[in-house]
């Protein structure tokens, strides 16, 4: 459930269900025009905004877009490039030219090996879904410490809150460094107590992220932590 549907009447649709007439509106993501109707192609909430009818899917796979901040796990290493699992349908490719280090040909493993975790940005995605990553940018690096966890793509906005307000609160009360990447991966680093608190929060997001009571439960957790 996105913020866009708040206050409006929520309507849950399933694939093939007619949302409304196609005249006068544009078909957005999660929809298709069939004849005179706009139909849903995914299970999700109908969102009418600025003359565009779309469906906010409840569950969806991560589809990388150029500029996304992602946390990747190295899956294979070649002489001058790395392949990283970015939680999408295809592995991302990090060429030596877009890595922050200057290494000899054939020595790529000395910087990052299979299983290592990195923070990168999606440089480019072509129509055949080839993903090129870059580690040239502020803060992009190999993540050597902390923990990595995964949440559903559709819960990212709930963890971040409006204008990252929830995330700021969590950083403050847990005293941890937290990165919520666009691919549904979350990195947390701090002392063991803070990490343990964040594990509880992420478990809550995973289990109750869809619930109307989620925000109240999260606030209760934060309050409890503040008072401890």
């Amino acid at each position: 459930m996105s913020g866009a549907t708040k206050g409006a009447e929520l309507r849950l649709v399933t694939p093939g269900e007619a949302i409304g007439a196609s005249s006068g509106v544009r078909a957005g993501t999660g929809t298709l025009i069939v004849g005179d109707n706009i139909i849903a192609t995914k299970v999700g909430w109908v969102n009418n905004k600025n003359g565009v009818t779309s469906v906010d899917p409840i569950h969806s796979a991560y589809m990388p877009r150029s500029g996304d901040l992602v946390i990747g796990v190295i899956e294979s290493v070649r002489n001058n490039l790395w392949f990283a699992d970015v939680n999408g349908p295809f592995n991302g490719l990090l060429p030596m030219s877009l890595a922050p280090w200057k290494v000899e040909f054939g020595a790529a493993r000395q910087q990052m090996d299979i299983g290592d975790i990195m923070l990168a940005r999606v440089q480019e995605v072509d129509e055949a879904h080839n993903i090129v990553l870059t580690m040239k940018g502020v803060g992009l690096r190999r993540l050597k410490e902390g923990i990595m966890s995964e949440i559903s793509m559709n819960h990212i906005s709930r963890l971040r809150g409006d204008g990252d307000s929830t995330l700021r609160q969590l950083k403050e009360v847990s005293d941890c460094r937290i990165i919520v990447a666009e691919n549904g991966r979350v990195w947390v680093d701090g002392d063991s107590d803070g990490i343990s608190f964040m594990r509880t929060v992420l478990e809550l997001v995973r289990n109750d992220g869809h619930m109307a009571t989620f925000n109240a439960s999260l606030e209760a957790l934060i309050e409890e932590r503040r008072n401890a």
Binding site: M1, P15, G16, L32, K42, H129, M211
Partner: protein, 245 residues
């Protein structure tokens, strides 16, 4: 007229052996999201048939020779559990499961927007836990719910239904005895919103009139099952959402 003439499949009062009318379906139950490890999953009980389906992906298609540059491939594995029938089935792929996997994949490819995911693969695993005739239809229904649950874009849900002929009478949704000793069987994969047919097989002979009656029965049943599928998908999230929707 084929079949086994000495087996009585219709009672003297015109009802079938299990007490159903000729155009009555077995009881159907659908649940979505039953397997936490899968991207999408479904459980369907249709009469005594029980099918569980898990969907994974879209993911990179391996081996590379199966990749299509302009669309995703749907890799279906239909399998009957060794304990699903009264005689134990030898585990693993056989000629029948290979055929059903192929026709199911082709049926699903016509509803899934495969062009959205070039070079990818969507894995659909259908496991039949209990079998009582019509498992390919139950598998298709389960696969459609699981695909929708996984967030794979689709034009419509697809519903598997069958009707056939016993004792020269067209009946909807054959059970085991009717399937084994009947004269014809017509399983279909129907897109309930548009009434399109994405999958059709026919075993036995039907006249044009009988075929048309089968079509009518199947269309009616598909709409009923479709409502249950939609309800299962919505129920899952409305419950999760604390009844907010």
């Amino acid at each position: 007229m084929g079949g086994y003439g000495d087996v009585q499949l219709l009672r003297d009062d015109g009802l079938r052996l299990d007490g159903r009318k000729v155009d009555e379906m077995r009881e159907v139950k659908v649940e979505a999201g039953v397997l936490p490890a899968a991207d999408g999953s479904a459980w369907v009980k249709h009469g005594l048939n029980v099918a569980v389906c898990a969907v994974y992906g879209p993911m990179e298609a391996h081996p590379r020779k199966i990749q299509r540059q302009d669309r995703a491939v749907i890799d279906v594995r239909y399998n009957m559990a060794p304990f699903s029938t009264s005689d134990r089935i030898r585990p693993g792929f056989n000629r029948r499961s290979r055929e059903i996997s192929k026709v199911t994949a082709e049926a699903l490819e016509s509803v899934v927007l495969v062009e959205r995911y070039p070079r990818s693969k969507i894995r659909v695993e259908i496991e039949i836990l209990a079998a009582e005739a019509g498992t390919r239809c139950v598998g298709i229904t389960a696969a459609a719910v699981a695909l929708a649950d996984a967030g794979i874009p689709m034009r419509d849900l697809i519903v598997g239904v069958a009707s056939g002929k016993i004792e020269d009478t067209v009946v909807l949704d054959l059970d085991k005895a009717e399937d084994n000793y009947g004269q014809a069987d017509l399983p279909m994969g129907i897109l309930p919103t548009t009434g399109e047919i994405a999958f059709l097989q026919m075993d036995g002979d039907l006249s044009v009139e009988e075929y048309n009656t089968c079509m009518e029965y199947n269309m009616k049943a598909a709409k009923e099952i479709h409502e249950l599928m939609v309800d299962a998908l919505k129920r899952r999230y409305v419950e999760k959402n604390g009844g907010e929707a």
